[in-house]
Every structure is written in structure tokens, then in C-alpha cells.
């Protein structure tokens, strides 16, 4: 299985690290250079961790694990109004970014109220484009257990619920963190930061399980490798959006319009296959983006053998 790590060090002899990462079959996801300091996010095979650790020591850098790197997470609030939105939601989103996740804050159109709170099919499908979702709910047990549970039922990605009252369990969610409620100020006290850590930890566990599950039937290429190929596309290079390519556990979000670029994307060469043949490409619900779901090795093999059989 692959591991995502962050190297923090100097630029001197940094090429040696890049070469080593390439040699062991890993990839560089991101480089951020500030004068002579550089932060590099890398993906490497788990079994080669010791080699990278040794090289980091040699270069005088620091290596930290970023458990949520390579994931995109939706933090969902019942509405974007000030009653739900500002502090806990933003603090959770910001805290998850520290662990490497790309987070998106989302408010439901009709999520306010108790019995009147609802989620549309369109909103559910939008949320399902992400790797996981964190639902931030309110202060009353009665309201959450009887009504708000409907908001995240039948969502096909892992859901974490953060709410105020001490509820033992909720149906439809994979993790529950209590003690996070409406606030008029930022979560900066020690006990509040501990809650944010708890959410990040719960998400880390869920992501780990999903990574292992993906690994049981591995993808044809790792999303980071596919990212490197797509980066050469002109539209991606010219894109002014922050992080034009976002990694998912089983694919990527490329922030260029689907209709306009689907053919060029499908034509990119991936180990002798067309990208369109080793993945499912579709338009994202949020306009101007394309979602790529990479097929597994077995799916590609099955396709290939079917193709060969029909040619014969």
C-alpha cells in the first residue's frame, strides 16, 4: 500500500530525494518552495519507508505522515446561515487541512429547522463525489436522533457526524464525535482543539480502511501517477483555480470543464492504454470540473481480454 508523507527541509540535494522516490516507484504530489526551504508531499510504497527516512536524515530534513493527504472531504452544515455556519464548520475544515485533506464547506439549501430540514437528491450526489463527509449538526438530541438523521441516510460515502449532545450511536454514520455545538467564537480552547483532533483521527481511521479496501483490488494506476500525466494538459496548466487537480482515493477531480475537455482527457496515454479505457470520466456536479474514477487492474484486464477475444 502507498503512504503519503511530507518532507520539510532545504533545497540542497533535493533532487536526490526526487530520484529516490521515482526509483522506488513513488510519486511527488506537491512541491512548495520558499527561498531555500522546501516542502514536498510524496507518495511511496509502504515497504520502502525506511529508505526514505534514511535519505531524509541524510538531507537534514523532517518527515511527517499526512494521513489525509490525497483525499477530498466535504464538511456539511445544515445551512450557510450564521446559526450553523461560521465557527465549528470552518474550524473543522481548517483542522482537516492540517492533516493533508482538501476540504470543501457546503451548506444545504433547505437544511434549517427540525422537521422541515431536508436534503435533495442533487445535494446527496454532490456530496458523494467526495471521499468522505463530515456533517456538523446541532445541540439537541431529540432533533438529531429523530429528524436530522435523514440528512445523511443512504449517502454512499463514509459519513462522520459532529454534534453537541452525548449520543451513543447514530444510524447511517461511520463515526460520531460529540461535544461540538453552535458557537459564537473560534474553537481555540484545549478541550475544543481535542475535539477537532478527535474528528481528524476518526476520519483518518475511515480513510485508512478505505485505502486498504482499494488495495485489495488495486487501481490500474495510482491517482498521483495519473495526476502527473494530466498535468501536462494545456487547460490544466492555464487553470487559475487553486489546486487544479485534486486527488481522491480512487480517482481525481480535474478542475477543467468536462464537455470541452473530455476527449483530450480520454486520449492521454497511461501505460499503453487510453485514459478513457482505464477510468470512468464524468462531469462533476459542481460546474467546471471533471471527475475521473480509475478502474481496478482486474477490471482493465477483464476489458483487455474481452477486447482480444472479440478481435480473435
Amino acid at each position: 500500500m502507498y503512504k503519503v508523507l511530507m518532507f520539510d527541509g532545504g533545497v540542497y540535494r533535493i533532487n536526490e530525494l526526487y530520484e529516490l522516490v521515482e526509483d522506488i516507484g513513488g510519486f511527488v504530489i506537491q512541491k512548495t518552495q520558499v527561498q531555500v526551504q522546501i516542502i514536498v508531499t510524496i507518495v511511496i510504497p509502504e515497504e520502502d519507508l525506511a529508505v526514505i527516512e534514511k535519505k531524509t536524515q541524510e538531507l537534514g530534513g523532517k518527515l511527517t505522515e499526512v494521513p489525509l493527504a490525497g483525499t477530498e472531504v466535504a464538511v456539511v452544515a445544515p445551512t450557510l446561515g450564521r446559526h450553523h455556519m461560521p465557527h465549528p464548520v470552518c474550524d473543522i475544515a481548517e483542522h482537516l487541512r492540517r492533516y493533508g485533506a482538501i476540504t470543501v464547506v457546503m451548506g444545504l439549501a433547505r437544511g434549517k429547522g427540525r422537521q422541515t430540514a431536508q436534503i435533495s437528491a442533487d445535494e446527496k450526489s454532490t456530496i458523494e463525489e467526495y471521499d468522505a463527509a463530515v456533517f456538523v449538526l446541532g445541540n439537541f438530541e431529540d432533533c438529531i436522533t429523530k429528524e436530522k438523521v435523514r440528512l445523511f441516510e443512504n449517502i454512499e460515502i463514509p459519513v462522520i457526524v459532529a454534534c453537541g449532545p452525548d449520543i451513543a450511536q447514530l444510524p447511517g454514520c461511520e463515526a460520531l464525535v460529540t461535544g461540538v455545538c453552535r458557537k459564537v467564537e473560534r474553537m481555540r480552547r484545549a478541550e475544543e482543539i481535542a475535539k477537532l483532533e478527535e474528528i481528524a483521527e476518526a476520519l483518518g481511521k475511515i480513510v485508512e480502511v478505505r485505502r486498504r479496501r482499494v488495495d485489495e483490488d488495486p487501481l490500474f494506476v495510482h491517482p498521483a501517477e495519473m495526476k502527473q500525466r494530466i498535468e501536462s494538459l494545456e487547460a490544466v496548466q492555464k487553470s487559475l483555480r487553486p489546486a487544479p487537480i485534486v486527488l481522491h482515493l480512487d480517482g481525481l477531480r480535474v478542475k477543467i470543464p468536462f464537455e470541452e475537455w473530455k476527449d483530450q482527457l480520454a486520449g492521454i496515454d497511461i501505460f499503453g492504454h487510453r485514459l478513457g479505457d482505464v477510468s470512468r470520466i464524468s462531469g462533476a456536479r459542481i460546474g467546471g470540473s471533471t471527475i475521473i474514477k480509475i478502474l481496478t487492474k482486474s477490471e482493465v484486464d477483464a476489458r483487455d481480454s474481452k477486447g482480444t477475444a472479440s478481435t480473435a
Partner: protein, 185 residues
């Protein structure tokens, strides 16, 4: 500040009391609120809040808080008591419009074409401002989906009962009872 809470869920009611204290701090009303009563029953659903404020200072004449002098083309107002500055400026802007009231420095205003006597006769009512701030605090606190509201207001007490679908008669009676109890307390 005296706080009384009646509710079906301890965590929810306690957190709403904390939230209310935070909101009061934000709008700068901590010292002006004398007593609060909450009735929070999410299963009904009912959210009721009744707030009693301290007595607001009476009507203040502009001549008591500022120096006023007639000059060529209008009246010059120099504010002496800074606490009234925002209220005075907004009253003058409301009455004469922004184009006729120039803010020369932080505490100096020039009212173009306004006779000195008119400004001398003006009064500021801090009670009105207090009331609007109390309402602001209540709107911030009320659960967002509780749009059906019943308001009762007297000189120092504001009571708001809010629910989601239909305001029941017994809740209105309860609000009235609590409102009158707050008057007596």
C-alpha cells in the same frame, strides 16, 4: 444577570445559555441585561426567551453632549461625550441625509443649511438603541428554522416564542404568563 432555564435536554439548554452569553458579549449588552428566562423544548418544538433589561438612560438632549455653534452656511457640532457619537451621527444622517451632514473629524460634524435651533432641540433616545440590540441578540440566538414567532414587548421586557409549524394557543398563554412574571420579579 439572573438566568432561569426550563428545558427537556440539559446539554442543549446549557449550551444555549453559553451561546446567549457569547452573543450578549458580541453585541455589547452584558451589563444591560438584568434577567433572562428560557423555555426550550425541542420535541414540541418550542423556543421561548424573555429578557428584562436595566432601565435605559432617559432622553438626552444634543446640547448636553455636544457644543453647537452657528457658522456660515450651517451649524457646527462638536461632540463632547464620545459614547453618544455613533447615535448622534446616525440620527443626523437620518434626518438631514448624508449629503448635508459632513463628518470633518472623528468628533466634529458640519450640518449644511441646518439652523442651530433645530439641532439644539434634537433628542437622543438610548432606549430605542437598546431595544434594537436586544432584538438583534434574540434573532442571532433563535434556531434558524423556527420562523413562526409570537412577540410581546413592554418597556423593559421582550419576550419571543418561536416554533416551526403552528403557534399553539397554550404557548402564547405561556409567553404572556412569563412576560408578566418578569415584570413582577
Amino acid at each position: 444577570m439572573k438566568i432561569e432555564v426550563e428545558g427537556t435536554e440539559k446539554y442543549g439548554t446549557d449550551s444555549y445559555v453559553d451561546l446567549f452569553n457569547g452573543i450578549l458579549l458580541d453585541v455589547g449588552l452584558t451589563r444591560m441585561v438584568e434577567a433572562v428566562r428560557f423555555v426550550i423544548k425541542p420535541s414540541d418544538p418550542l423556543f421561548l426567551i424573555s429578557i428584562r433589561t436595566r432601565k435605559a438612560p432617559g432622553l438626552v438632549k444634543v446640547s448636553d453632549i455636544a457644543d453647537i455653534s452657528a457658522t456660515e452656511g450651517g451649524t457646527m457640532v462638536t461632540i463632547r461625550d464620545e459614547t453618544y457619537a455613533p447615535t448622534l451621527i446616525s440620527v443626523l444622517w437620518q434626518k438631514y441625509g448624508r449629503e448635508r451632514v459632513d463628518q470633518l473629524t472623528r468628533l466634529e460634524l458640519f450640518c449644511r443649511g441646518v439652523p442651530e435651533k433645530e439641532i439644539l432641540d434634537l433628542g437622543l433616545d438610548p432606549g430605542e438603541e437598546l431595544k434594537s440590540k436586544i432584538l438583534d441578540a434574540i434573532w442571532r440566538l433563535l434556531p434558524e428554522g423556527f420562523k413562526i414567532r409570537h412577540n410581546i414587548s413592554s418597556e423593559r421586557i421582550t419576550t419571543v416564542a418561536a416554533t416551526e409549524h403552528e403557534m399553539k394557543k397554550e404557548w402564547i398563554e405561556m409567553a404572556e404568563k412569563i412576560h408578566s412574571e418578569m415584570e413582577v420579579d
